[in-house]
């Protein structure tokens, strides 16, 4: 059989080679495009996570005895070099007034938390278990004969968990608003709940001073810790104040804005707050301890 063709063998060979080269070129194009796409997405992800990691807490604190004979407040701030890996922990414990060894219990509380650092940010139950264990140990020793409050914040990657026992304060200043994040664990809350359920107004709940007694504190057996199950998102210029009631009894919540302002460094705010309390010259000034945390951009 005779085959007829327009193309010579040489031309067919050249066309075949060209076809192979074309396929290789197309495949290379797609390969390069895919690699570029992956690189761009990775870069974008890096940028986004850089943005998420952009805020750093700037921390300043004060600890003053006031007019009391003893310093029953105690605090702990974890070291900042560990921030990237473990976040930062700031806590204040206030020995309960009128009971012996308040200073011992508050110091034991913050010291034990220091020993347990680093705490797992993603496991608030584990942190609560540490606090509960501290409380149970204090109970075993004092059988409700002594105790302390505790407020603790754990900040990492623009988020914050908080934990509270008693009536110390965790305060958030955001957008010119002051908010007490942790509600006080006292009998007033229980009375208000009952009265509200009964469709009553709640004036009477505030009249009995005994109702301000704490329901929960460090030193109570199997205490009920107020804690976040999911972390609170923080933003630039948020200011968190972790403090004993010696601060808020003298400078009420709504007046804090006068001394603590986002345009100032944490150190300036802490200084202004400390001197504001000192200048009030309250004759019965309680111990006062405050940790001022300002979330700010810090490009390193």
């Amino acid at each position: 059989m005779i085959e007829f063709g327009i193309l010579t063998d040489r031309m067919s060979e050249l066309l075949g080679t060209a076809g192979v080269l074309f396929v290789v070129a197309v495949m290379s194009f797609f390969y390069i495009a895919i690699i570029l796409f992956i690189n761009v997405m990775t870069f974008k992800k890096k940028i986004i996570s850089k943005g998420d990691d952009f805020l750093l807490p700037e921390i300043s604190y004060f600890l003053e005895r006031g007019k009391r004979e003893k310093q029953e407040d105690s605090f702990y701030i974890s070291s900042m070099p560990d921030y990237a890996a473990n976040g930062v922990i700031c806590c204040v414990s206030d020995g309960m007034g009128g009971l012996p060894d308040g200073e011992v219990v508050s110091r034991f509380t913050t010291q034990t938390l220091k020993e347990h650092y680093p705490l797992d940010f993603d496991d608030p139950e584990a942190t609560a278990a540490v606090i509960k264990d501290i409380s149970d140990k204090v109970y075993e020793k004092y059988k409700l004969g002594s105790g302390a409050t505790l407020v603790l914040v754990h900040i990492k990657d623009n988020f914050m968990h908080f934990y509270s026992l008693g009536d110390s304060n965790i305060i958030l200043l955001r957008d010119n608003k002051v908010t007490l994040l942790n509600q006080k664990q006292n009998y007033v809350s229980a009375i208000i709940q009952k009265m509200a359920e009964g469709n009553m107004t709640t004036r009477d709940a505030y009249l009995d001073n005994r109702a301000r007694g704490l329901i929960d504190f460090v030193g109570n057996y199997n205490c009920n810790i107020l804690k976040t199950s999911k972390p609170l998102r923080l933003y630039e210029d948020d200011i968190i104040i972790v403090c004993s009631d010696g601060v808020t009894d003298t400078i009420p919540l709504e007046k804090l804005k006068k001394y603590v302002q986002p345009q100032n460094a944490a150190r300036t705010s802490a200084e202004r707050l400390k001197y504001a309390i000192r200048n009030k010259k309250n004759k019965r000034q309680d111990n006062y301890t405050g940790i001022v945390i300002k979330m700010e951009r810090s490009f390193i």
Binding site: T179, A205, P231, R233
Partner: protein, 180 residues
Amino acid sequence: MIEYYQFKHNGGQESYKDGIFLSIVPHMTFLVFYGSNMESGSSEVRKTLSSIFQGKDMELGFEELDKKISESLPSGSEYMLIRISKDSIQCSRYGGVEAKIVMGGEMRQLSNGFFGLSSGDRIVLGTASFFSFLSDEAILADALVSGNCSEWMNYMVRRISDINELSCGNLTALTLILRD
């Protein structure tokens, strides 16, 4: 599963004029009515809403139900209607009733429309009067520390009580938590 808790309080007034209406079957549908903001006619509106929520209208699709309610009520009635499924929420808002959602450590206001939900999301629906005593940060903090809907509501009520001893007129709100 959707957990909910409702709070209705006279707030020192003789009568309660707001309302919370809900239907579980065949859809989880809730409506908060802001009657204390009306000069008159709130009881008629409540009767109308009550009959709608107890009748076959609850089988209607969300848009049809929304239309039916808006046509049945006098103009200017203030309420918010929401319908929740396992993974979404539909909202329709008229006047001074708001809904806020807590997700991912943040709180956002729910506007009219359809939104996706995931387990653990928390929603509070209430009258403007209820929200006027609460900052967004306070609502958010209380949501994050609460184990259930009633606890969340009690924390918010405590904050309102600290301001006005619950003598500020009718207070009405509903908390919802999506569970697995």
